[in-house]
Amino acid sequence: MTDLDAFRQQTRAWLEDNCPQSMRAPVTSDADACWGGRNFQFQSEDQKLWLERMAARGWTAPDWPREYGGGGLSRAETKVLQEEMARIKARAPLSSFGVWMIGPAILKFGSEELKRQHLPPIIRGEIRWCQGYSEPGAGSDLAGLQTRAEDHGDHFIVNGQKIWTSYADKADWMFCLVRTNTEAKKQLGISLVLFDMTTPGVSTRPIKLISGSSPFCETFLDNVRVDKDQVVGEINAGWTIAKYLLTHEREMIGGMGRTAAGQKTLPQIAVEAIGLEDGKLADGYLRSEISRWDIDAAAFALTSERVLDEAKAGQGVGAASAMLKYYGTELNKRRQELNIALHGSQAMVWEGEASNEGAMPRTWLRSKGNSIEGGTSEIQLNVIARNILGLQ
């Protein structure tokens, strides 16, 4: 037996013993997920237990170094852990911008002090993070951001406004892009700073969306003091880190094009909704639309797999994340439209117990944002055209 096989057996046994039954089902909405943080209200004892047990092993961030509380697993071991979790449909113990985004950036670009200060609480789910990137005047043209950080020796004084800050009203800390040099070319005067949301001068206001929920906020920064030791990487060199983070974000959002383990596939939903006749979906037109989507979804899943395999083999195209983000989000929007069509008028029920509080129309509307957030589809196409195809 190889070491990896032994690891698989141990992992399987440990998950079997430690993953509560109620955590062996896919997360159905943002509200259903475990986000952690100072003020997080656990929805159940099981949810809390599952986070604590996984965090104790560092498996909320399985491939991060052990010295900061991570799991210290190799790439192959991480894959085994993911496969074994998928096998029993175990949900992620923690949904976290800390784990997905700022953690990897601190690991790659941050000082030793920043790593020791921030990584362990992220892994344990104690601090919830939000991202301060977009501004009212700087959306797709992110480098045009205006939020200004004035140099006061050992600290900065930050003034400005951020928008589309996901869950800023629930977050404990923000990773924020600020302008530290107004003279330089716009990409060269940007820094990435970290601050506590309870710092005087920070205020947030939720923005209500067409889905009825408000995952996004506006955040106002009024003379906010940020110590210089909370700058990630070099001062004025934040744009490189910003791009690195955007790549992570795109991969994360692009993943929406894939059907999660345990989630019903669109053909399964179609069979339940309209039934089979002679082994074929009873509605021929819907059947052909669903197979067109299914073909694209299957080819997209293979492409995500191939991009990963190529990266492991040290090959592959740069800017693949732009392609995955573009295609994955468009695919998810198509999925949501077909899902609505399959459920007919019932798909539009907004309130009421039987509708799971309007989960279907709200999820459909929320998907419209996928091709806007993290860089619009049009921006991704620009990136592909310019960076990969050399068209300008």
């Binding site: 179609a270 059947r287 052909s288 197979s291 073909i295 299957a298 080819a299 068209l391």
Partner: protein, 380 residues
């Protein structure tokens, strides 16, 4: 489960095929074959060189003189044939002929014919379709017992390389309704046999696909490939093998037309700037790039599944052929449009690619055929 990347051996074969075909069988060769109305429709000299490169024996086991590089290996050759529009009997003989013999052939048939194919001494052609749209079970060609042997009557359409093949591999029915899978047999028929008549048809892609008729052709018992009346499973797998290679060829066509189009947009100026600076065109190219990336993954998965004899291979092949058909159609249509008036001229190569793509799309099932099959195989 294999990683979705080429291994070292496959990557070497890809490079070898790329260099060799670009040099020995570029698009200009197809153009010359067309313009001289070459009676073979491909260069016999090129085919001999391909044989020497080992291409004819890529799917042939080493015991029969092949190189046994497998489906992924063969796919790299088909891909480069797509890039160069290289005309050869690779599909008819080295893919369809070899897999028919491997899956349905007796020890004696394999021992006699496989080494001959690997050594380039023998050409075969698969004669199955009888209706304009691909429908492998719609077989009216009749097989009847005649003493110790058989008698064959019927007519086949679109038999690729049928006019030059030494042996035809023919589907015929001895029982069952016209579109039933049951009752179909595969037979090895000499093209020169009495009662076989072959009419060469030159297709839009300048390649050949014959119309073949069988009029009371008498065959010995040994002509049977596999079990009488039970050839459907063999034929289905042979078609999967063929369709995976056609998907690889379509990928090559799409990639080539796409890169030529992008290069054209970078050069060609209108309104004082390059066409490539227009966002409307950039976005169409970036979308097409993404679609081609999906085809690459689907084709590699299908080829790997065939090499692994994965029971789900049929599903992956239909996925690959469907997606390759859709994207090659988009790529060649965009190729003409992005080249503007130049794209409509015979002098420019784009037209040769669009014509080849459409024929390959239709051969053994287009997007609609395989999307339908994919849905059925997925249980809906």
């Amino acid at each position: 489960m294999s990683a979705l990347v080429l291994n070292e051996e496959q990557a070497m074969l890809k490079d070898a095929a790329k260099g060799f075909l670009a040099e020995q069988a570029p698009v200009s060769q197809l153009r010359a074959l067309r313009d001289t109305r070459d009676e073979t429709g491909f260069s016999r000299e090129l085919w001999q060189q391909m044989v020497e490169m080992g291409f004819s024996g890529t799917l042939v086991p080493e015991a029969f003189g092949g190189t046994q590089f497998g489906h992924v290996g063969m796919g790299q050759i088909s891909l480069q044939c797509g890039h160069n529009l290289s005309a050869s009997p690779l599909l008819s003989t080295a893919v369809l002929g070899v897999s028919s013999l491997l899956l349905g052939g007796s020890q004696a048939q394999q021992t006699e014919l496989l080494p001959a194919i690997a050594e380039g001494r023998l050409l075969t052609a698969l004669a199955i379709d009888e209706s304009p749209r691909h429908a492998p079970w719609r077989v009216a060609t009749r097989l009847s017992r005649d003493g110790e042997g058989y008698r064959l009557n019927g007519r086949k359409l679109c038999v690729v390389d049928g006019h030059v093949a030494d042996w035809l591999i023919v589907s015929a029915r001895s029982s069952g309704e016209e579109s039933a899978r049951e009752g179909i047999s595969l037979l090895l028929v000499e093209r020169a046999a009495p009662g076989v008549s072959v009419e060469r048809t030159i297709m839009a892609d300048s390649r050949n696909a014959a119309l073949v008729s069988f009029d009371n052709v008498t065959l010995p018992a040994e002509a049977l490939l596999g079990v009488e009346g039970e050839a459907a499973a063999v034929l289905e797998w042979v078609l999967d093998v063929g369709n995976a290679q056609l998907a690889a060829e379509l990928l090559g066509i799409a990639e080539e037309v796409f890169s030529r189009s992008v290069a054209y947009l970078q050069e060609r100026k209108q309104f004082g700037v390059t066409l490539g600076s227009f966002q409307a065109l950039q976005h169409r190219c970036a979308h097409l790039f993404s679609e081609i990336e999906l085809v690459k993954s689907a084709v590699l998965k299908a080829l790997q599944a065939l090499d692994a004899s994965d029971p789900e291979a049929p599903q992956w092949v239909s996925l690959a052929k469907a997606k390759a058909c859709e994207v090659a159609e988009l790529a060649t249509n965009e190729g003409v449009q992005l080249h503007g008036g130049m794209g409509m001229t015979d002098e420019f190569d784009i037209g040769l690619f669009i014509k080849r793509a459409r024929l390959v799309q239709q051969l053994f099932g287009d997007y609609r055929y395989h999307a339908n099959r994919f849905a059925s195989l997925r249980g809906y």
